[in-house]
């Protein structure tokens, strides 16, 4: 088997707060193969974005390893990290705040090229910026406009062009379409999928929108309070969700078809508990309809119960570990 583009091994990121350690990412391990998309799903505050940023080294990991192309990168000094940054990029959630309002579109897209010093002469840089704007479908006339003059969809295209400027291998997409209207959202999703085919990109796609994640991902990982509670191939996850949290998430989505009137049933009581110094046991137990005493005391481990389908839940303690 080929070396995965990204591999996380027991990755942890804790933040210090006056009330104790906040477990933003807790013991997350996964592999992401080249040209694939892994969707990370979960509610706000579950550590999705922190995971993406920790992988890129924007946050320093508390412990655990991040391997990029088989090479450990979590402790690399800035100097050695800089060339690697060409390979790994990020597209941010909010196209309103992730672009410098004082730079024009062409300056924004050219910035990574200048920082990395790939192209020297202004004419070369201009040509490359032009090329990138073509790729993401931005007209030439936008080269000298400022972000505030554009609508959300176009701004997000600028963010994508900037991420592509270095010909990266791997892109963390942190809720890239959440701030956009549905008709624009579809345009951006199509663009991202086309780019993946053309340039052989690998995506870590972070979102809370399950319909979007189903559309774009090969595999999906569900996170709850910093932990990965279920990971599986996309189809299998939607057909047969195993973890009670995943089941509740899927039930909570309103479906745009008739015959679903009053179909939203309050399946989950309560809210996400605090990620600061979490109690031992399963973190979902306070909201889980199946919780037992074991769930409140022993933390369940991620376990492969079907081929390629991992779940961390005591309900599956008796299920045989899949050893294929």
């Amino acid at each position: 088997m080929s070396v995965p583009v990204i591999e996380c091994i027991e990755l942890k990121k804790y933040f210090d707060t006056p009330f104790g350690k906040l477990h933003a990412v807790d013991n997350v391990s996964f592999k992401l193969e080249a040209h694939k998309t892994l969707g990370i799903v979960g509610e706000s505050g579950c550590g999705k974005s922190t995971l993406g940023r920790t992988i890129l080294g924007l946050h320093k990991a508390t412990s655990g390893k991040v391997l990029f192309d088989g090479r450990e990168i979590q402790d690399l000094p800035a100097k050695q990290m800089k060339p690697l940054r060409k390979e790994m990029q990020i597209i941010f959630q909010d196209p309103y705040s992730s672009l410098n309002p004082r730079d024009t579109v062409s300056q924004i897209i050219a910035q990574p090229i200048r920082i990395q010093g790939i192209l020297k002469t202004p004419s070369e840089i201009d040509a490359r910026v032009q090329e990138l704007m073509d790729i993401v479908g931005l007209g030439k006339r936008f080269a000298n406009t400022y972000p505030h003059e554009m609508d959300g969809g176009r701004r997000q295209r600028v963010g994508i062009a900037r991420a592509l400027a270095m010909n990266p291998k791997f892109i963390v997409c942190d809720e890239p379409v959440s701030a956009l209207d549905v008709s624009i959202q579809a345009q951006i999703l199509n663009l991202m999928m086309d780019l993946q085919d053309q340039m052989g990109l690998t995506y870590l796609f972070i979102t809370h929108n399950l319909a979007v994640v189903k559309h774009i991902s090969d595999d999906i990982a569900v996170m709850y309070l910093g932990q990965m509670v279920e990971k599986s191939e996309t189809e299998a996850l939607f057909k047969d969700p195993l973890h009670p949290y995943t089941q509740a998430l899927l039930k909570a989505i309103p479906i745009p078809e008739i015959g679903h009137r009053n179909s939203i049933k309050n399946v989950l009581k309560g809210e996400v508990t605090s990620p600061i110094e979490p109690k031992p046991g399963c973190r979902f137990a306070p909201r889980c309809p199946y919780a037992t005493d074991a769930c409140r005391s022993v933390e369940p481990q991620l376990k492969e119960v079907k081929k390629g389908h991992f779940v961390a839940c005591h309900l599956f303690d008796d299920a045989k570990e899949c050893t294929e």
Binding site: I258, H260, I264, N266, E271
Partner: protein, 333 residues
């Protein structure tokens, strides 16, 4: 026949800033009966929130110009004096705003903010009684009464939205306007809030105007649906009329349905609506959707667009009108 609660007749709203005139709402007409839930669907800039604000007569004073009539119980809201409006706002019509993080006052306790509505509309009452009432209202939205002494920052997003709903329903309004009440919330919390609103609707028999861009919420919550585009209602009908894909629809409605990834159907590629929503300061002539419409003909580029009505279902589109005529002819033949 159910009782008409709200009737909007040919409402037009413009914002005038300097020399620029923004045509936000362009002649919409709507009726809302008692106990009914109407979903108002559209993208950013379609004029949904402007419509909602005009119903409360809360448009920014110096820059907006509203024409037409908004009849609430037969009285025109747009012509009311301030003291008349004050009696209605919060009591008979109330509004839930989109962003729970910014619509509460951070320096007042939650209980005080709910109590304010009560003491304004129901006269002075003893402190103890007010506390009791506030507690009851909080419990209706699923928050323990004891938490009324806490400040907004001590609540999570979902709970803040419940507090805002509690303020809105404190006086048992006849009309509740909910402007994207769950957009800022997570799906499981969204389910809780919608579930709670459904219960409240049934127990208070209020009418609800639900503004949203999520067709899933509409399908699970509303009786009637109005699709808005560039300040016009391009399609209106019952839930069945709009969501029955075999019926004739406005091309924009079709586009909206095609653009959302469907959980039950696997599509290799989404079908976005080509182009962007028009700039309200420079709306296209003729049908406002024609620059993005795949079926647009030369006729669509000028003149008024006919409205086809069939029972309660109405569509503002030339093409649908032609198709409808054709079907009629075929039937006669």
């Amino acid at each position: 026949m159910s009782e008409k609660l709200l009737e909007i007749k040919d409402l037009k709203v413009r914002y005038v800033v300097g020399k620029e005139v923004s045509e936000a709402v362009n002649g919409i007409s709507l009726t809302l009966n008692k106990g009914e839930t109407l979903g108002l669907v559209g993208e950013t800039g379609a004029g949904k929130t402007t419509t909602a604000l005009s119903i409360m007569n809360m448009l920014p004073q110096y820059v907006s110009r509203a024409e037409g009539e908004i009849l609430f119980h037969g009285k025109n809201v747009l012509k009311m004096k301030n003291h008349e409006l004050r009696k209605i706002r919060g009591k008979q019509i109330s509004m839930v705003f989109q962003d729970p993080m910014t619509s509460l006052n951070p320096v007042y306790r939650v209980g005080e903010q709910i109590g304010e509505v009560l003491s304004l509309h129901e006269g002075k009452m003893p402190k103890e009684e007010l506390r009791k009432r506030v507690g009851e209202i909080l419990e209706m939205v699923g928050i323990p009464a004891a938490r009324q002494d806490e400040y907004p920052h001590q609540f999570s997003g979902g709970m803040k939205q419940r507090v805002i709903i509690a303020i809105a329903i404190a006086c048992r309004p006849e009309l509740l306007i909910a402007d994207e009440p769950t957009t800022a919330l997570d799906v499981t919390i969204q389910a809780q809030v919608l579930d709670m609103m459904q219960e409240l609707r049934d127990s208070l028999n209020s009418s609800i105007l639900m503004i949203t861009h999520d067709l899933g919420i509409v399908a699970s919550f509303c009786d009637k649906v109005a699709i808005m585009y560039a300040g016009e209602i391009v399609e209106y009908g019952t839930l069945e009329d709009i969501f029955d894909r075999t019926k004739a629809h406005h091309p924009y409605t079709e586009g909206l349905f095609n653009a959302i990834p469907n959980l039950n159907v696997i599509t290799p590629r989404l079908n976005p609506i080509h182009g962007l929503t028009p700039d309200p300061t420079e709306l296209p002539k003729g049908c406002k959707f024609h620059p993005r419409c795949p079926y647009a003909t030369d006729a669509c580029k000028e003149g008024a667009v006919p409205v086809l009505t069939e029972g309660e279902h109405s569509i503002m589109c030339r093409r649908v009108k032609d198709r409808f005529k054709q079907a009629e002819k075929e039937e006669q033949a």
